[in-house]
Amino acid sequence: MSGRDPIPYAPEQPGAQPPNDYPAYKSTINRHPLRAPIRVPHTLTEVTGPSFTRRWHGKNLADLTLQHKGEPLGERIVIAGRVLDEDGRPVPDTLVELWQANAAGRYAHERDRHDAPLDRNFTGFGQVVTDKQGGWRFVSIKPGHYPWRNTHNAWRAQHLHFSIFGPAFATRIVTQMYFPGDPLLATDPIYHSIPDATARERLVAAYDPTLSEPEWALGFRWDIVLRGRAATPAEG
């Protein structure tokens, strides 16, 4: 053990992450590894990761309703929150990517065959870098429910896809944010893949009237928590 060893990130909390072997989500059946993963003590490789302070990733796209000539159809929403680590410390300067279906439940993707209209004024992609307090904010429209072929007559709960990097390769996460009160949350298998109910419910945003814009858009708050260090890093 060398004094220069990097401080590892904390291991996964039980029940907080979905298993990859989860047959209720059919696409996992042929894609989940059969062997247990090899546990790797963190080295410099795992505790480092891409930095976004130099803006090589492109400009902020915080308002998904302003990307085309006209306004997209649908219910305008503001979604905002913070990226924090397990110890409640803000994660600044990290990239947050957001993508989603349009108000009719259709993705601007060539392989999406759902018979719902595309919206020429909506692509459904945004990205921002978090501020010093780990804060981020998007303006968008509420995505529609859509059918998928997981089982007969299956429909997905309304959701936004989020991709967050954090400070290290080990903190990378891609997830989905859901909306409060959606009746499809009771059965959505992707949502239910997270075993622990409290952890699962953390994926549901809170309606937050303080984020709503009068006569304009409805507000939702959602905080994202990334892995923290197994021990407090020395200052300096």
Binding site: M1, S2, A10, Q13, A16, Q17, P18, N20, Y22, Y25, S27, T28, I29, N30, R31, H32, P33, L34, R35, P37, I38, R39, V40, T43, L44, T45, V47, T48, G49, P50, S51, H57, G58, L84, D85, E86, E97, L98, W99, A108, H109, R111, D112, T123, G124, F125, H161, S163, F169, A170, R172, I173, V174, T175, I190, T198, A199, R202, L203, R227
Partner: protein, 197 residues
């Protein structure tokens, strides 16, 4: 009191229009120092069918073996023209390819040295949480033999899944790039060794 970590959810099948940045498949695009190489391969499922809706993110040290990150305080030359991060999608045949520079060796824990390697996070439809693995180089046999992470894998066949294979060099404009093949098999016979990081 610790806050609960946000749970992972699949990227699903419909992310390409949002996440695809074709330029991110060339890690040398800003003019990185070092030996330019190409890595290519396929991502296959348990039935050996190509995964057409998956992508890799890669992270590596520069040619001198230093990461572009504040926690890397090694006394090695930084390369301001090398970010060290890439993202690359599979095509309709499950193939991917990226161009980078060969990474230098980086320290492991204790006094160990790690063989040159590229860290990989793999995302796709059907993966509720992304999978982590590593790419090592076939022409670094001695360093691979001493690598502390490869050393954690007891089964030599499984260990070998992390070592890329030499492939036909790639002609890119006037340059001819040494090329390595790294296939990812998600499940079953020949399954790639995945890492819990």
């Amino acid at each position: 009191m610790k806050l609960p970590v946000t749970g992972s959810q699949t990227v699903g099948p419909f992310y390409h229009y949002a996440l695809d940045r074709p330029e991110w498949s060339d890690l040398t695009r800003h003019g990185a120092r070092g030996e330019k190489i190409r890595i290519e391969g396929r991502i296959l499922d348990g039935e050996r069918k190509p995964c057409i809706d998956a992508f890799l993110e890669v992270w590596q040290a520069n040619a001198a073996g230093r990461y572009a990150h504040p926690e890397d305080r090694q006394n090695k030359k930084p390369d301001p023209k090398f970010i060290g991060f890439g993202r690359v999608f599979t095509d309709a045949k499950g193939r991917y390819a990226f161009t980078t520079v060969r990474p230098g060796p980086v320290p492991g824990r204790g006094n160990a040295m790690q063989a040159p390697h590229i860290a990989v996070n793999l995302f796709g439809r059907g993966l509720l949480k992304h999978l982590a693995t590593r790419i090592y180089f076939p022409d670094c046999a001695e360093a691979n033999e001493a690598d502390p992470v490869l050393g954690l894998i007891d089964d030599p066949k499984q260990r070998a899944t992390l070592v890329a294979q030499p492939a036909k060099p790639t002609r890119l404009g006037r340059a001819i790039l040494p090329t390595f093949r790294f296939d990812v098999i998600l499940q079953g016979e020949g399954e790639t060794a995945f890492l819990e990081i």
